[in-house]
Protein backbone atom coordinates (compact mmCIF):
# COMPACT_ATOMS: atom_id res chain seq x y z
CA UNK A 1 0.00 0.00 0.00
CA UNK A 2 2.21 2.82 -1.17
CA UNK A 3 0.89 6.05 0.30
CA UNK A 4 1.33 9.42 -1.27
CA UNK A 5 4.16 10.34 1.07
CA UNK A 6 6.68 8.24 -0.78
CA UNK A 7 9.52 9.98 0.99
CA UNK A 8 8.61 7.89 4.05
CA UNK A 9 9.92 4.78 2.30
CA UNK A 10 13.12 6.48 1.16
CA UNK A 11 15.87 4.96 3.30
CA UNK A 12 14.75 1.33 3.30
CA UNK A 13 13.68 0.93 -0.28
CA UNK A 14 15.96 2.98 -2.49
CA UNK A 15 15.86 1.54 -5.94
CA UNK A 16 15.57 2.82 -9.44
CA UNK A 17 18.71 4.21 -10.86
CA UNK A 18 20.61 5.42 -7.80
CA UNK A 19 24.16 4.65 -8.77
CA UNK A 20 25.85 6.69 -6.06
CA UNK A 21 26.82 9.41 -8.53
CA UNK A 22 24.93 12.09 -6.62
CA UNK A 23 22.01 13.95 -8.12
CA UNK A 24 22.13 14.19 -11.86
CA UNK A 25 20.19 16.81 -13.76
CA UNK A 26 17.42 14.45 -14.66
CA UNK A 27 16.94 13.39 -11.04
CA UNK A 28 15.64 16.84 -10.14
CA UNK A 29 12.25 16.07 -11.61
CA UNK A 30 11.83 13.02 -9.38
CA UNK A 31 13.14 14.82 -6.34
CA UNK A 32 10.90 17.78 -7.14
CA UNK A 33 7.82 15.61 -7.54
CA UNK A 34 8.44 13.79 -4.27
CA UNK A 35 9.21 17.00 -2.41
CA UNK A 36 6.05 18.65 -3.76
CA UNK A 37 4.02 15.62 -2.73
CA UNK A 38 5.70 15.67 0.68
CA UNK A 39 4.70 19.27 1.28
CA UNK A 40 1.19 18.35 0.25
CA UNK A 41 1.15 15.43 2.64
CA UNK A 42 2.20 17.66 5.54
CA UNK A 43 -0.51 20.23 4.72
CA UNK A 44 -3.05 17.41 4.36
CA UNK A 45 -2.11 15.96 7.76
CA UNK A 46 -2.32 19.36 9.48
CA UNK A 47 -6.12 19.33 10.03
CA UNK A 48 -5.75 16.05 11.92
CA UNK A 49 -3.73 17.91 14.53
CA UNK A 50 -5.44 21.30 14.36
CA UNK A 51 -8.79 19.71 15.19
CA UNK A 52 -7.53 18.85 18.66
CA UNK A 53 -7.09 22.53 19.60
CA UNK A 54 -10.00 23.94 21.64
CA UNK A 55 -13.10 24.27 19.45
CA UNK A 56 -15.08 27.50 19.04
CA UNK A 57 -17.67 26.57 21.67
CA UNK A 58 -14.93 25.99 24.25
CA UNK A 59 -13.19 29.25 23.35
CA UNK A 60 -16.53 31.07 23.68
CA UNK A 61 -16.58 30.11 27.34
CA UNK A 62 -13.04 31.42 27.87
CA UNK A 63 -14.47 34.47 29.61
CA UNK A 64 -17.20 34.60 32.22
CA UNK A 65 -19.02 37.63 33.56
CA UNK A 66 -19.90 37.65 37.26
CA UNK A 67 -22.18 40.01 39.14
CA UNK A 68 -20.43 40.94 42.42
CA UNK A 69 -22.98 43.46 43.69
CA UNK A 70 -24.29 41.13 46.37
CA UNK A 71 -20.92 40.19 47.93
CA UNK A 72 -20.52 41.89 51.33
CA UNK A 73 -17.10 42.78 52.75
CA UNK A 74 -15.74 39.75 54.59
CA UNK A 75 -17.53 37.21 52.41
CA UNK A 76 -17.02 35.68 49.03
CA UNK A 77 -18.54 33.46 46.35
CA UNK A 78 -17.40 30.49 44.36
CA UNK A 79 -18.02 31.10 40.65
CA UNK A 80 -17.05 29.06 37.60
CA UNK A 81 -14.61 30.05 34.88
CA UNK A 82 -13.37 27.71 32.12
CA UNK A 83 -15.06 24.87 33.99
CA UNK A 84 -12.94 25.56 37.09
CA UNK A 85 -13.84 27.13 40.48
CA UNK A 86 -12.99 30.80 41.05
CA UNK A 87 -12.99 32.44 44.49
CA UNK A 88 -14.24 36.05 44.49
CA UNK A 89 -13.71 37.59 47.88
CA UNK A 90 -14.52 41.10 49.17
CA UNK A 91 -11.67 41.73 51.66
CA UNK A 92 -12.31 43.72 54.85
CA UNK A 93 -9.84 46.52 55.72
CA UNK A 94 -8.51 44.29 58.51
CA UNK A 95 -7.76 41.50 56.02
CA UNK A 96 -6.05 43.98 53.70
CA UNK A 97 -3.89 45.29 56.56
CA UNK A 98 -2.95 41.74 57.57
CA UNK A 99 -1.86 40.98 54.04
CA UNK A 100 0.21 44.16 53.71
CA UNK A 101 1.93 43.53 57.04
CA UNK A 102 3.63 40.33 55.89
CA UNK A 103 7.29 40.86 54.89
CA UNK A 104 7.96 39.45 51.39
CA UNK A 105 11.01 37.50 52.67
CA UNK A 106 8.63 35.26 54.62
CA UNK A 107 6.75 34.24 51.50
CA UNK A 108 7.54 31.14 49.44
CA UNK A 109 6.04 32.90 46.40
CA UNK A 110 6.66 36.62 47.14
CA UNK A 111 3.84 38.86 45.91
CA UNK A 112 2.18 41.90 47.48
CA UNK A 113 -1.59 42.25 47.70
CA UNK A 114 -1.27 45.16 45.25
CA UNK A 115 0.28 42.86 42.69
CA UNK A 116 -2.58 40.41 43.07
CA UNK A 117 -5.43 42.90 42.69
CA UNK A 118 -6.43 45.65 40.30
CA UNK A 119 -5.63 49.28 41.11
CA UNK A 120 -8.60 50.92 42.80
CA UNK A 121 -10.11 47.53 43.64
CA UNK A 122 -7.70 46.34 46.30
CA UNK A 123 -10.50 44.78 48.31
CA UNK A 124 -11.50 42.43 45.50
CA UNK A 125 -9.42 39.26 45.63
CA UNK A 126 -10.18 37.04 42.62
CA UNK A 127 -8.24 33.79 42.41
CA UNK A 128 -8.62 30.31 41.00
CA UNK A 129 -10.02 27.97 43.62
CA UNK A 130 -7.46 25.33 42.73
CA UNK A 131 -4.67 24.44 45.15
CA UNK A 132 -1.31 24.83 43.42
CA UNK A 133 -0.07 21.59 44.97
CA UNK A 134 -2.08 18.88 43.26
CA UNK A 135 -5.33 20.59 42.30
CA UNK A 136 -7.87 20.13 45.10
CA UNK A 137 -10.42 22.87 45.81
CA UNK A 138 -9.43 24.61 49.08
CA UNK A 139 -11.90 25.49 51.82
CA UNK A 140 -12.56 28.98 53.15
CA UNK A 141 -14.69 30.75 50.59
CA UNK A 142 -18.02 29.70 52.05
CA UNK A 143 -19.62 30.74 55.35
CA UNK A 144 -18.24 28.74 58.26
CA UNK A 145 -15.59 26.91 56.25
CA UNK A 146 -12.18 26.32 57.76
CA UNK A 147 -9.94 29.22 56.73
CA UNK A 148 -6.74 27.85 58.22
CA UNK A 149 -4.17 29.48 60.46
CA UNK A 150 -3.66 32.55 58.27
CA UNK A 151 -7.30 33.50 57.81
CA UNK A 152 -7.36 32.81 54.05
CA UNK A 153 -7.92 29.39 52.57
CA UNK A 154 -7.14 25.90 53.77
CA UNK A 155 -6.66 22.85 51.56
CA UNK A 156 -7.76 19.66 53.35
CA UNK A 157 -6.00 17.28 50.94
CA UNK A 158 -2.44 17.83 52.13
CA UNK A 159 -2.70 20.77 54.54
CA UNK A 160 -1.67 23.78 52.44
CA UNK A 161 -2.55 27.08 54.15
CA UNK A 162 -3.13 30.36 52.30
CA UNK A 163 -3.35 33.85 53.85
CA UNK A 164 -5.86 36.66 53.35
CA UNK A 165 -4.22 37.48 50.01
CA UNK A 166 -4.45 33.78 49.05
CA UNK A 167 -0.68 33.41 49.23
CA UNK A 168 0.87 30.11 50.28
CA UNK A 169 2.22 30.26 53.79
CA UNK A 170 2.49 26.68 54.94
CA UNK A 171 2.15 23.24 53.46
CA UNK A 172 3.32 21.60 50.25
CA UNK A 173 1.80 24.00 47.65
CA UNK A 174 4.61 25.79 45.74
CA UNK A 175 2.75 28.88 44.52
CA UNK A 176 0.04 31.35 45.56
CA UNK A 177 -3.49 30.76 44.27
CA UNK A 178 -3.49 31.76 40.60
CA UNK A 179 -4.89 35.20 39.77
CA UNK A 180 -6.53 35.12 36.29
CA UNK A 181 -6.87 38.10 34.01
CA UNK A 182 -9.99 40.05 34.88
CA UNK A 183 -11.47 43.47 34.44
CA UNK A 184 -14.36 45.45 35.85
CA UNK A 185 -16.83 46.03 33.04
CA UNK A 186 -19.02 47.97 35.50
CA UNK A 187 -18.42 48.73 39.21
CA UNK A 188 -20.49 45.66 40.06
CA UNK A 189 -19.60 43.20 37.29
CA UNK A 190 -16.27 41.62 36.67
CA UNK A 191 -15.28 39.83 33.45
CA UNK A 192 -12.90 36.99 34.23
CA UNK A 193 -10.55 35.73 31.55
CA UNK A 194 -9.88 39.03 29.88
CA UNK A 195 -7.76 42.07 30.59
CA UNK A 196 -10.39 44.26 28.98
CA UNK A 197 -10.21 46.58 25.94
CA UNK A 198 -6.85 48.12 25.25
Amino acid sequence: MATKAQSAEGPAVTGGDGEGEGLRRRDYLKVGAVAFAGVGAVVAIAPLFVQMAPSADVLALSTTEVDISKIQPGSGIKAQWRKQPVFIRNLTPKEIAEADAVPLSELRDPQTLEERTLPGHKNWLITLGVCTHLGCVPLGIGEGENRGKYGGYFCPCHGSQYDTAARIRQGPAPKNLFVPDYTFTTPTTVLIGSKGKK
Binding site: G16, D17, R26, L29, K30, G32, A33, V34, F36, A37, G40, V43, A56, D57, A60, L61, E65
Partner: protein, 307 residues
Amino acid sequence: MVRFIGFLIGLVFAGVLLIAFIGNLASYFSSPPEPLAADEFHLPPKEVHFSSDGPFGTFDKRQLQRGFQVFSEVCSACHSLKLVSFRDLKGLGYNDAEIKKIASDWKVETPTINPDTGEPSTRKSLPSDTIPPPFPNEVAARAANNNALPPDLSLITKAREGGAHYVYSILTGFQNQPAALLKKFPDAKTPPNLHYNPYFANLNIAMPPPLTTDGQVQYQDGTKPTVDQMAKDVAAFLVWTAQPELQRRHDAGLAVTFFLLIATILAYLAKQQIWHEAHRSVRIAGPLEPGNQVKTRRAKSKAGVAG
Protein backbone atom coordinates in the same frame (compact mmCIF):
# COMPACT_ATOMS: atom_id res chain seq x y z
CA MET B 1 -20.61 -29.99 -8.71
CA VAL B 2 -20.34 -26.35 -7.77
CA ARG B 3 -21.36 -25.37 -11.24
CA PHE B 4 -24.33 -27.70 -11.25
CA ILE B 5 -25.74 -26.37 -7.99
CA GLY B 6 -24.97 -22.84 -9.08
CA PHE B 7 -26.78 -23.47 -12.32
CA LEU B 8 -29.88 -24.61 -10.46
CA ILE B 9 -29.78 -21.69 -8.02
CA GLY B 10 -29.44 -19.27 -10.92
CA LEU B 11 -32.45 -20.79 -12.65
CA VAL B 12 -34.46 -20.73 -9.42
CA PHE B 13 -33.80 -17.04 -8.79
CA ALA B 14 -34.50 -16.18 -12.41
CA GLY B 15 -37.66 -18.23 -12.24
CA VAL B 16 -38.97 -16.56 -9.11
CA LEU B 17 -38.14 -13.20 -10.66
CA LEU B 18 -40.07 -14.19 -13.77
CA ILE B 19 -43.10 -15.00 -11.62
CA ALA B 20 -42.75 -11.67 -9.83
CA PHE B 21 -42.30 -9.88 -13.15
CA ILE B 22 -45.42 -11.40 -14.64
CA GLY B 23 -47.43 -10.66 -11.52
CA ASN B 24 -46.13 -7.10 -11.48
CA LEU B 25 -47.04 -6.38 -15.09
CA ALA B 26 -50.37 -8.16 -14.78
CA SER B 27 -51.45 -5.97 -11.89
CA TYR B 28 -50.08 -2.89 -13.65
CA PHE B 29 -52.15 -3.45 -16.76
CA SER B 30 -55.26 -4.72 -15.02
CA SER B 31 -55.42 -1.94 -12.45
CA PRO B 32 -53.02 0.80 -13.42
CA PRO B 33 -51.92 3.02 -10.53
CA GLU B 34 -54.11 6.05 -9.93
CA PRO B 35 -52.56 9.34 -10.90
CA LEU B 36 -52.05 11.62 -7.93
CA ALA B 37 -52.71 15.32 -7.90
CA ALA B 38 -49.20 15.83 -6.55
CA ASP B 39 -47.59 14.06 -9.53
CA GLU B 40 -49.17 16.38 -12.00
CA PHE B 41 -49.30 19.71 -10.22
CA HIS B 42 -46.09 19.65 -8.16
CA LEU B 43 -43.58 22.17 -9.43
CA PRO B 44 -39.76 22.03 -9.25
CA PRO B 45 -38.10 24.98 -7.48
CA LYS B 46 -38.08 28.32 -9.29
CA GLU B 47 -35.15 29.65 -11.25
CA VAL B 48 -33.34 32.09 -9.02
CA HIS B 49 -29.70 32.93 -8.38
CA PHE B 50 -27.96 33.15 -5.01
CA SER B 51 -24.45 34.46 -4.50
CA SER B 52 -23.65 31.20 -2.69
CA ASP B 53 -24.56 29.03 -5.71
CA GLY B 54 -21.93 27.06 -7.54
CA PRO B 55 -18.30 26.11 -6.86
CA PHE B 56 -17.23 29.74 -6.59
CA GLY B 57 -20.16 30.75 -4.41
CA THR B 58 -19.62 33.47 -1.81
CA PHE B 59 -21.73 35.14 0.85
CA ASP B 60 -23.04 38.67 0.56
CA LYS B 61 -22.85 39.71 4.21
CA ARG B 62 -25.30 42.57 3.80
CA GLN B 63 -27.84 40.16 2.36
CA LEU B 64 -27.18 37.73 5.21
CA GLN B 65 -27.85 40.49 7.73
CA ARG B 66 -31.11 41.37 5.98
CA GLY B 67 -32.05 37.71 5.96
CA PHE B 68 -31.29 37.45 9.65
CA GLN B 69 -33.54 40.43 10.24
CA VAL B 70 -36.37 38.72 8.35
CA PHE B 71 -35.79 35.57 10.36
CA SER B 72 -35.80 37.32 13.72
CA GLU B 73 -38.81 39.52 12.96
CA VAL B 74 -41.00 37.03 11.08
CA CYS B 75 -39.90 33.40 11.16
CA SER B 76 -38.57 33.09 14.70
CA ALA B 77 -42.11 33.35 16.06
CA CYS B 78 -42.60 29.68 15.10
CA HIS B 79 -39.27 28.32 13.85
CA SER B 80 -36.22 27.54 15.96
CA LEU B 81 -32.60 27.91 14.88
CA LYS B 82 -31.14 25.68 17.56
CA LEU B 83 -27.76 24.92 16.03
CA VAL B 84 -26.77 28.57 15.65
CA SER B 85 -25.10 30.35 18.56
CA PHE B 86 -25.28 34.13 18.86
CA ARG B 87 -21.47 34.25 18.62
CA ASP B 88 -21.75 32.63 15.18
CA LEU B 89 -23.37 35.84 13.92
CA LYS B 90 -19.87 37.26 13.75
CA GLY B 91 -19.81 35.59 10.37
CA LEU B 92 -22.52 37.99 9.24
CA GLY B 93 -20.25 40.95 10.00
CA TYR B 94 -21.59 42.00 13.41
CA ASN B 95 -19.06 43.02 16.07
CA ASP B 96 -18.90 41.81 19.68
CA ALA B 97 -21.00 44.65 21.10
CA GLU B 98 -23.73 44.19 18.49
CA ILE B 99 -23.83 40.47 19.13
CA LYS B 100 -24.08 40.99 22.86
CA LYS B 101 -27.06 43.28 22.27
CA ILE B 102 -28.75 40.92 19.81
CA ALA B 103 -28.38 38.12 22.35
CA SER B 104 -29.68 40.00 25.38
CA ASP B 105 -32.52 41.61 23.38
CA TRP B 106 -33.74 38.31 21.92
CA LYS B 107 -37.39 38.05 22.84
CA VAL B 108 -37.17 34.45 24.01
CA GLU B 109 -34.81 34.05 26.94
CA THR B 110 -32.47 31.15 27.63
CA PRO B 111 -33.86 28.60 30.10
CA THR B 112 -31.89 28.33 33.33
CA ILE B 113 -32.27 27.38 37.00
CA ASN B 114 -32.90 30.15 39.50
CA PRO B 115 -29.70 30.09 41.63
CA ASP B 116 -31.59 30.99 44.81
CA THR B 117 -34.68 28.81 44.63
CA GLY B 118 -33.70 26.04 42.19
CA GLU B 119 -36.88 26.59 40.17
CA PRO B 120 -36.78 26.60 36.36
CA SER B 121 -36.37 30.13 35.15
CA THR B 122 -35.02 32.12 32.22
CA ARG B 123 -32.20 34.61 31.79
CA LYS B 124 -31.03 37.00 29.12
CA SER B 125 -28.97 35.21 26.48
CA LEU B 126 -25.21 35.52 26.20
CA PRO B 127 -23.22 35.39 22.98
CA SER B 128 -22.12 31.87 23.90
CA ASP B 129 -25.73 30.64 24.03
CA THR B 130 -27.59 29.05 21.13
CA ILE B 131 -30.61 30.93 19.84
CA PRO B 132 -33.48 29.92 22.19
CA PRO B 133 -36.37 28.17 20.41
CA PRO B 134 -39.82 29.78 20.43
CA PHE B 135 -41.34 26.64 21.95
CA PRO B 136 -39.66 24.58 24.69
CA ASN B 137 -40.57 21.22 23.10
CA GLU B 138 -42.47 19.53 20.27
CA VAL B 139 -45.73 19.23 22.19
CA ALA B 140 -45.85 22.97 22.87
CA ALA B 141 -44.96 23.71 19.24
CA ARG B 142 -47.75 21.52 17.92
CA ALA B 143 -50.25 22.88 20.40
CA ALA B 144 -49.62 26.37 19.13
CA ASN B 145 -49.71 25.45 15.44
CA ASN B 146 -52.80 23.30 14.77
CA ASN B 147 -50.84 20.12 15.50
CA ALA B 148 -48.23 21.00 12.87
CA LEU B 149 -44.57 21.12 13.83
CA PRO B 150 -42.61 24.05 12.36
CA PRO B 151 -39.22 22.47 11.61
CA ASP B 152 -35.96 23.85 12.93
CA LEU B 153 -34.40 25.93 10.17
CA SER B 154 -30.68 25.60 10.99
CA LEU B 155 -30.08 22.96 8.31
CA ILE B 156 -33.21 23.39 6.18
CA THR B 157 -31.31 24.32 3.00
CA LYS B 158 -29.29 21.10 3.30
CA ALA B 159 -32.30 19.04 4.39
CA ARG B 160 -34.45 19.73 1.36
CA GLU B 161 -33.87 18.90 -2.29
CA GLY B 162 -33.27 22.23 -4.01
CA GLY B 163 -31.89 23.99 -0.94
CA ALA B 164 -32.26 27.76 -0.99
CA HIS B 165 -34.14 27.60 -4.28
CA TYR B 166 -36.74 25.40 -2.62
CA VAL B 167 -37.09 27.69 0.40
CA TYR B 168 -37.45 30.74 -1.84
CA SER B 169 -40.03 28.96 -3.99
CA ILE B 170 -42.11 27.93 -0.98
CA LEU B 171 -42.08 31.45 0.45
CA THR B 172 -43.16 33.02 -2.85
CA GLY B 173 -45.28 30.14 -4.09
CA PHE B 174 -48.48 30.47 -2.11
CA GLN B 175 -51.44 30.74 -4.46
CA ASN B 176 -55.06 29.72 -4.89
CA GLN B 177 -55.67 26.14 -5.84
CA PRO B 178 -55.98 26.08 -9.65
CA ALA B 179 -59.41 25.21 -11.06
CA ALA B 180 -57.82 22.63 -13.34
CA LEU B 181 -56.69 20.63 -10.35
CA LEU B 182 -60.11 20.65 -8.71
CA LYS B 183 -61.68 19.59 -11.98
CA LYS B 184 -59.37 16.63 -12.46
CA PHE B 185 -59.10 15.64 -8.80
CA PRO B 186 -62.28 16.79 -7.11
CA ASP B 187 -61.28 15.03 -3.87
CA ALA B 188 -58.06 16.96 -3.64
CA LYS B 189 -59.47 20.22 -2.32
CA THR B 190 -57.07 21.87 0.12
CA PRO B 191 -58.20 21.04 3.68
CA PRO B 192 -59.20 24.00 5.87
CA ASN B 193 -56.05 24.29 8.03
CA LEU B 194 -53.63 23.87 5.13
CA HIS B 195 -52.52 26.20 2.36
CA TYR B 196 -52.02 25.38 -1.31
CA ASN B 197 -48.41 25.68 -2.47
CA PRO B 198 -47.37 23.73 -5.61
CA TYR B 199 -43.70 23.83 -4.59
CA PHE B 200 -44.42 21.72 -1.50
CA ALA B 201 -44.25 17.94 -2.00
CA ASN B 202 -47.89 17.10 -1.44
CA LEU B 203 -49.14 20.54 -2.51
CA ASN B 204 -50.73 21.54 0.81
CA ILE B 205 -48.50 23.03 3.48
CA ALA B 206 -49.48 23.72 7.09
CA MET B 207 -47.58 27.01 7.21
CA PRO B 208 -49.67 30.07 6.31
CA PRO B 209 -47.86 32.45 3.96
CA PRO B 210 -45.39 34.23 6.28
CA LEU B 211 -44.43 37.00 3.87
CA THR B 212 -47.61 38.64 2.67
CA THR B 213 -46.92 42.35 2.19
CA ASP B 214 -44.06 44.47 1.05
CA GLY B 215 -42.46 46.38 3.90
CA GLN B 216 -43.17 43.71 6.51
CA VAL B 217 -39.61 44.31 7.64
CA GLN B 218 -37.77 47.63 7.48
CA TYR B 219 -34.27 47.13 6.11
CA GLN B 220 -31.52 49.37 7.53
CA ASP B 221 -29.44 49.41 4.37
CA GLY B 222 -32.18 50.93 2.27
CA THR B 223 -32.97 47.84 0.18
CA LYS B 224 -36.62 47.74 -0.81
CA PRO B 225 -38.28 45.04 1.31
CA THR B 226 -40.55 43.47 -1.30
CA VAL B 227 -41.91 39.98 -0.58
CA ASP B 228 -39.58 38.66 -3.27
CA GLN B 229 -36.57 40.42 -1.76
CA MET B 230 -37.36 39.28 1.77
CA ALA B 231 -37.80 35.70 0.57
CA LYS B 232 -34.46 35.82 -1.24
CA ASP B 233 -32.68 37.34 1.74
CA VAL B 234 -33.97 34.87 4.29
CA ALA B 235 -33.21 31.95 1.94
CA ALA B 236 -29.65 33.24 1.54
CA PHE B 237 -29.41 33.56 5.32
CA LEU B 238 -30.54 29.96 5.70
CA VAL B 239 -27.77 28.83 3.36
CA TRP B 240 -25.38 30.46 5.79
CA THR B 241 -26.96 28.83 8.84
CA ALA B 242 -26.61 25.42 7.19
CA GLN B 243 -23.14 26.00 5.72
CA PRO B 244 -21.32 28.79 7.58
CA GLU B 245 -18.02 27.44 6.26
CA LEU B 246 -19.07 27.70 2.61
CA GLN B 247 -16.86 30.54 1.49
CA ARG B 248 -13.82 29.28 3.39
CA ARG B 249 -14.45 25.84 1.98
CA HIS B 250 -14.51 27.14 -1.58
CA ASP B 251 -11.35 29.16 -1.09
CA ALA B 252 -9.49 26.24 0.43
CA GLY B 253 -10.86 23.95 -2.28
CA LEU B 254 -9.47 26.16 -5.00
CA ALA B 255 -6.03 26.14 -3.38
CA VAL B 256 -5.99 22.39 -2.85
CA THR B 257 -7.24 21.71 -6.38
CA PHE B 258 -4.56 23.91 -7.85
CA PHE B 259 -1.89 22.25 -5.72
CA LEU B 260 -2.97 18.75 -6.70
CA LEU B 261 -3.07 19.71 -10.36
CA ILE B 262 0.58 20.73 -10.19
CA ALA B 263 1.46 17.69 -8.11
CA THR B 264 -0.21 15.44 -10.68
CA ILE B 265 1.68 17.03 -13.55
CA LEU B 266 5.01 16.83 -11.76
CA ALA B 267 4.38 13.25 -10.71
CA TYR B 268 3.33 12.28 -14.22
CA LEU B 269 6.48 13.77 -15.74
CA ALA B 270 8.60 11.95 -13.17
CA LYS B 271 6.82 8.71 -13.99
CA GLN B 272 7.39 9.18 -17.71
CA GLN B 273 11.06 9.78 -17.07
CA ILE B 274 11.45 6.63 -14.98
CA TRP B 275 9.54 4.48 -17.46
CA HIS B 276 11.33 5.90 -20.48
CA GLU B 277 14.51 4.41 -19.09
CA ALA B 278 12.72 1.08 -18.65
CA HIS B 279 11.48 1.00 -22.21
CA ARG B 280 14.96 1.75 -23.49
CA SER B 281 16.62 -0.85 -21.34
CA VAL B 282 14.69 -3.88 -22.56
CA ARG B 283 17.37 -6.05 -24.09
CA ILE B 284 16.57 -7.52 -27.43
CA ALA B 285 18.27 -10.82 -26.74
CA GLY B 286 15.45 -13.20 -26.47
CA PRO B 287 12.49 -14.29 -28.52
CA LEU B 288 12.81 -11.26 -30.80
CA GLU B 289 16.33 -11.93 -32.01
CA PRO B 290 16.01 -13.01 -35.65
CA GLY B 291 17.62 -16.40 -35.09
CA ASN B 292 15.39 -17.14 -32.14
CA GLN B 293 12.32 -16.02 -34.02
CA VAL B 294 12.85 -18.69 -36.68
CA LYS B 295 13.23 -21.33 -33.99
CA THR B 296 10.13 -20.09 -32.24
CA ARG B 297 8.01 -20.13 -35.37
CA ARG B 298 9.03 -23.68 -36.12
CA ALA B 299 8.24 -24.79 -32.59
CA LYS B 300 4.89 -23.06 -32.71
CA SER B 301 3.73 -24.66 -35.90
CA LYS B 302 4.70 -28.07 -34.54
CA ALA B 303 2.82 -27.78 -31.26
CA GLY B 304 -0.17 -25.81 -32.47
CA VAL B 305 -0.32 -22.11 -32.55
CA ALA B 306 -1.04 -20.36 -29.28
CA GLY B 307 0.83 -20.51 -25.95
